[in-house]
């Protein structure tokens, strides 16, 4: 009875799966039309901002290049999207061009075997060397950036700061003092957390990396070699800060269910004072609360020392790649599109389609005058050289469970010490999967 029923269910499921695979195969194959025209598929994640930018870029490119059409396809964001990308790459079923993260996440795609090497293209020298290293392996350079670099910072509401007469903090203690002042003043949530979207929980650790590097310049390299751990200072501070903030009751009431969009909107409307977040939130802000463009500022996540206070910087995470399965005419057309992305014209289209989130990493590209305040606030850090790359661009190791661990620490379920120990365990799997030495 059991076996027969479950088998039958399995058979139904399997035939459904086979059918959907067959359908996916059809749609991904695409048809090359007879008149020499090339049709490219371009896979991007389904975030509103990115879909809009990709569409605008594709339109501008098609206008300039007769005979090439680009069709923008979408996939889910987050880990579900990672899955789609990995599976489609592994089965040779990838779109002709696709967008994915740079840094550690790209390394997990086995780029040497799956992606087209672009290191011989003539435009490569126009890229920021930090970016080049975030999309390179020992054997090749694989990606072209879309969008700008950005920072992991604390977004804050300037009106709240003005009202309470607060100064921008340069140490963690000053930051907590500010948050306590906001709490004492009443209705405004001192620090916004949004665990309805678990990935947003990671900023306390990831955005703290400038302070880690300041205390120990070789940390990233030693970490990759398995010689540094998160349970030890200076890296442990990120976990500790999150626990302290929770223990002090500084979070918004609905931190457990609020989403990323809620968080951005809270800091825009003044319902929240601080929101540790990547400055790509500028895109979200300009979509939902464009009036608050000048109200939401940003400052670097403070550490123990005001001297070394600086920004943790992310290279453009939206990077375009060409998979090896793109060949012949399509490969030529795809490379043409890549070259197009490197032009100032393409940068301007991106600035227009979406609010910039930080400086461009392409030589010759500049930001427009009227960027949101949170992006303008980053410029002084860049000008003074007070920036460091985020860990994911310096080490291929990033444990997959960080977001859940941070949610548990930030909800008071796990202690900071246990959370850091769990994360150290978690990254072992990643290091072994990547075949690194010393793990």
């Amino acid at each position: 009875m059991v076996t027969r029923t479950s088998r039958r269910l399995l058979a139904v499921g399997a035939s459904g799966l086979a059918l959907s695979l067959a359908l996916a195969g059809c749609s991904a194959g695409g048809d090359e039309s007879t008149d020499g025209a090339v049709e490219l598929s371009f896979l991007v994640d389904n975030s509103e901002a990115l879909v809009e930018t990709a569409g605008a870029l594709a339109d501008a490119f098609m206008e300039a290049n007769d005979g090439i059409t680009i069709e923008v396809e979408t996939r889910p964001q987050g880990s579900d999207g990672d899955n789609v990308v990995k599976t489609r790459l592994a089965t040779g079923d990838m779109a002709d061009i696709f967008q994915y993260n740079s840094g550690a996440l790209m390394q997990a795609l086995s780029p040497d075997e799956t992606l087209v090497d672009l290191s011989d293209e003539e435009w490569v020298d126009k890229l920021d060397p930090n970016f080049v290293s975030s999309v390179s392996t020992d054997n090749g350079m694989y990606g072209v950036p879309m969008g700008q670099s950005m920072a992991g910072a604390v977004l804050y509401n300037k009106d709240v700061y003005a009202e309470l007469g607060l100064e921008i903090p340069t140490t963690w203690d000053e930051f907590i003092a500010n948050a306590e002042a906001v709490k004492a003043a009443g209705d405004v949530a001192p620090i916004v957390q949004t665990y309805g979207d678990t990935w947003t929980s990671q900023l306390f650790v990831l955005g703290d990396f400038n302070n880690v590097t300041a205390a120990d310049p070789d940390w990233a390299e030693a970490y990759t070699a398995g010689e540094r751990k998160y349970v030890d200072e200076p890296a442990f501070a990120g976990f500790q800060h999150l626990q302290d903030a929770f223990d002090a009751g500084l979070f918004n009431e609905d931190f457990a269910s609020a989403t990323y969009a809620d968080g951005v909107s809270m800091v825009a409307t003044g319902a929240g004072a601080h929101y540790p977040m990547l400055t790509f939130a500028a895109g979200q802000l300009m979509t939902t609360d464009p009036d608050a463009a000048d109200v939401v500022g940003a400052f670097a996540l403070p550490g123990p020392d005001a001297e070394t206070n600086g920004l943790t910087v992310w290279m453009p995470t939206n990077t375009t790649y060409i998979p090896r399965t793109t060949e012949g005419d399509k490969l030529e057309a795809a490379k043409k599109f890549m070259a197009f992305l490197m032009t100032p014209e393409a940068c301007d289209i991106q600035s227009e389609a979406n609010a910039p989130q930080g400086p461009y990493v392409i030589e010759g590209c500049s930001l427009p005058e009227d960027v949101p305040a949170m992006v303008a606030d980053l410029q002084p850090y860049f000008d003074e050289g007070k920036t460091n790359l985020a860990l994911e661009f310096l080490s291929p190791i990033k444990g997959p469970a960080l977001e859940q661990i941070m949610v548990a620490v930030g909800s008071g379920i796990t202690s900071a010490a246990d959370g850091a120990a769990q994360y150290d365990e978690d990254v072992i799997k990643q290091a072994q999967q990547l075949g690194l030495e010393g793990w």
């Binding site: 058979a11 990672d82 990995k86 592994a90 075997e113 678990t198 457990a256 269910s257």
Partner: protein, 313 residues
């Protein structure tokens, strides 16, 4: 089987006459009513889609697999899988979830089954209403309830607030999340259990009840000594189906809590899925093999025991 073969032999005998001498051995071999080639399509289907993947999964569980290349590492994946920090918690959660939903479906399904097979007004309508959630996609149910159970803007807590009750964070309280999902699972799945029980009720001959009535049995006695024992096969089916379903439940938990907050509603299947998402394909395959063995280790003895009890009578 024996009753099925007897008439077949008779009908086949004229056509098989030429090979008459070879008949006795052949008779033993061809006890199936169909020739071998008739099984071939299903056989190929079975081998390609079930047997090969199953064997391959045992192999891949012993490797470090990036989808692009494979390295044989023996039992390391299993060692690592059992070291996974949240494994104990997820095991406990899996069993709590499976037994809770299964138990509730049996009890509620039985009660609803008895109720809906009695002579009540609008019986057909009421039956469809109970069965309706089974027809809705689980993902849809999950997303719907995630909205309904939102601690601040969700209709459930807003309704409670009207009566002055402050509703809990159904899906955000680490002690409550798993049970909230289990409740939704029971709501969505009890229709199937009810249907099976209704079918079982209909199969009980009315004479038994009439005879019991003649002997002066009360309603409770009829239920306890006629309905309940004769529903044993239905109960076996409901227990097995809901227990298997509960042990490998994933879709509802994933859409409603994603295993969270933190790891507090993680079950085996969601732990495995997260490993798969992270690209640890060998490790997650090992996890699936473990899940397979756990489900088998519970279901086979249980099925044997329940069916034996049913046969005994």
């Amino acid at each position: 089987m024996s009753t099925a073969t007897a008439p077949r032999r008779q009908t086949e005998s004229p056509g098989a006459a030429p090979g008459g001498t070879a008949r006795p051995p052949r008779r033993r071999k061809t006890h199936s009513p169909y020739p071998t080639w008739f099984h071939l399509p299903a056989g190929v289907f079975y081998v390609v889609l079930f047997l090969i993947p199953t064997i391959a999964s045992f192999y891949f569980s012993l490797t470090r697999w990036t989808l692009f290349d494979v390295e044989f590492i023996g039992f390391d994946n299993y060692v690592r899988f059992f070291q996974e920090q949240q494994l104990i918690q997820s095991f406990v959660n899996t069993f709590v979830y499976a037994f809770l939903t299964s138990g509730a479906k049996v009890v509620l399904g039985l009660l609803l089954g008895v109720f809906l097979s009695s002579q009540i007004i609008g019986r057909g309508f009421l039956r469809s209403v109970v069965f309706f959630p089974v027809l809705v996609s689980t993902i849809g149910v999950g997303i719907l309830f995630e909205v309904l159970l939102d601690p601040f803007d969700g209709p459930v807590n807003e309704t409670l607030a009207i009566f002055g009750i402050e509703g809990p964070g159904w899906l955000t309280d680490p002690n409550l999340a798993l049970f909230s999902v289990a409740m939704v699972d029971i709501w969505a799945g009890v229709g199937l259990a009810t249907l099976i029980y209704i079918a079982g009720m209909v199969a009980i001959p009315q004479e038994y009840f009439e005879a019991a009535k003649m002997d002066g049995a009360s309603a409770w006695h009829s239920f306890r000594h006629i309905t309940l024992p004769l529903l044993q096969p239905a109960t076996v089916t409901v227990v097995l189906l809901s227990l298997i379903g509960g042990l490998r439940r994933f879709d509802l938990i994933w859409t409603m809590t994603g295993g969270g907050p933190g790891f507090s509603s993680d079950v085996l299947a969601s732990v495995v899925y997260k490993q798969y998402q992270a690209g640890f394909f060998g490790l997650s395959t090992a996890g699936n093999v473990v899940l397979f063995l756990v489900v088998a280790a519970i279901i086979f003895p249980l099925s044997w025991w329940l069916n034996r009890k049913a046969d005994d009578r």
